[in-house]
């Protein structure tokens, strides 16, 4: 049989590189590491994806602020107070396979052993010497938005105290917690055996975070990735958190912008009196309980034009890197600090939404 001389036509596949996973360098060395260029031809073609509310990579046009976003009654106030006023690093977690709430003690034991062996790697220790690392996994009650949400899990690494006292307390050196507030979109679309705890917050040494993360990744076949916050989402946070009602204003509303300059980047910090910011937001917001993209843009434009009038600097040409309000403060690298327990659920809902959109 004679083979035809025509070359075979192959359809060119779109290489869709995800933002967080592999890195594609486009053949040019850049000063910064970790630049991910996503393939953007899909935007040109205007393809629409069949997702309920957002297209790929876009922020929603409106967000509803739930009015009854209080902690549920069975929340432990001491544990909740432990979560506040601490700097947490954010990660997004893919759904975990075969995670069961009944086996928390077993997981604690396994994780303690793992952390101990990882810490001892490379060190010569006598057999039977106990480094005194204890890992405790417990559930955090009350941190859920809807009834479909899974209960939050708190992981703590404590070093057994060296003091000879009977009731000396163990020192907690690292804490991390998983939670998922109003993550209905994701939890409805995953099969039975998966647990959706999409948001992970860690406080403490980076080495412990890496060890705990790798254990969870190996045991439950999930993937942790750093949750970075884009300037768009930071602007949303600035607008939404300024609009929250607070009894007493602790701190000024502060926005930090980064100006790309050579040789070193310049940081501009813009602090606004919280009551003034709230007054401005009240004039912008039309429907209470709902925030639209136009309102956020208008709010930020007002702040930018005020700054321009005084300093002749276009803040809209810079990049927003940090937002601090009386409620919470967020940094674009994925660090967050929550200050009020009343607004904890609201903040976590927004962060869960960002985590889920990063996973998908």
């Amino acid at each position: 049989m004679r083979r035809s001389g025509r070359p075979s036509l192959r359809r060119r596949q779109d290489v869709d590189t995800p933002d967080s996973g592999g890195m594609t360098r486009l053949g040019r060395k850049t000063a910064e590491t970790g630049i991910n260029f996503t393939n953007t031809t899909r935007f040109s073609r205007g393809l629409t994806f069949t997702r309920t509310h957002t297209l790929c990579g876009q922020s929603p046009t409106r967000r509803i602020i739930p009015q009854t976003s209080l902690l549920q009654e069975n929340a432990d106030p001491q544990k909740i107070a432990f979560l506040l006023r601490k700097q947490w690093t954010l990660y997004s977690v893919t759904p975990m396979y075969k995670f069961s709430y009944g086996n928390l003690k077993e997981y604690s034991r396994l994780l303690s052993a793992f952390v101990a062996t990882e810490k001892q790697k490379g060190l010569a220790v006598e057999v039977g010497n106990d480094l005194g690392i204890k890992v405790i996994l417990s559930t955090l009650l009350g941190l859920r938005g809807t009834d479909q949400d899974q209960a939050a899990i708190l992981v703590q690494i404590a070093l057994r105290s060296q003091l000879p006292f009977e009731n000396a307390e163990d020192k907690v050196v690292w804490s991390g917690w998983f939670c998922c507030i109003s993550g209905d979109d994701l939890s409805e679309s995953v099969p039975e055996d998966f647990t959706c705890l999409s948001l992970f917050l860690a406080n403490g040494a980076e080495s412990y975070t890496a060890i705990v993360g790798s254990w969870f990744q190996k045991t439950f076949d999930c993937y942790f990735s750093r949750l970075t916050i884009s300037p768009l989402n930071l602007a949303w946070m600035a607008a939404m958190w300024t609009g929250c009602k607070v009894d007493s204003y602790m701190a000024a509303t502060e926005l930090v912008f980064s100006v790309p300059c050579i040789p070193q980047s310049l940081d501009i910090s813009y602090a606004i009196h919280p009551e003034d910011a709230k007054a401005l937001w009240d004039t912008v917001q039309k429907t209470p309980g709902e925030v639209t993209q136009e309102e956020v843009n208008l709010f930020m434009d007002c702040l930018y034009s005020h700054f321009y009038r005084h300093f002749k600097i276009h803040l809209s040409a810079t990049r927003l890197v940090k937002v601090s309000t009386s409620i919470a403060s967020a940094h674009c690298d994925g660090n967050i600090k929550i200050l009020h327990s009343k607004h904890l659920i609201g903040v976590l809902t927004l962060l869960t939404e960002l985590a889920i959109s990063q996973i998908q």
Partner: protein, 177 residues
Amino acid sequence: MSLVRPFDKLPTLNSAVILLVGTDERRQQQLAEAILKEKKNFKINIHVATSLPLPAERDHVRPRIDLIAFMINMQSKHSLRNVEASLSHIDANFFLGKVCFLITGVGRMNHCSVEMNAVRKLGNLYCSPVLFCELDSEGIRAATAQRLLRMLQICAGHVPGVSALFFSSLMKSSIDE
């Protein structure tokens, strides 16, 4: 304030003029150099401006502009506002295919200050093609220069049988909403 009009001057033989409008002068220069490096068989004039309107004093010296490319950087809201303000200084006849939007900076999603909806709405409102390109990368810059050159040839009327009005087919998506 003078409007930029597409047909009020006579065209010059075998040449075409493109106007690049955008706030980032460095990127404009790089793109202009990439366009000039491309192989072409007609004379090309590249005009560069940060915003419109163009100064009226030099209007009589300026040749007829065949294609206007607005450059928007997704990482700077200022560039979007600047382009939106400049769009009102163009005669409406330009929007029959002689305007296009070049969007850069989408690749680094963590640094985007402009939302995608705004850019898409801009393209729909002004019936002009929106080209996403990463002008920081040399390869994509060369590819964009080639695309612009081809569009410029068509806008200047150098390609028989094809007119700038056909560019509206670039904006129709295969899945009609």
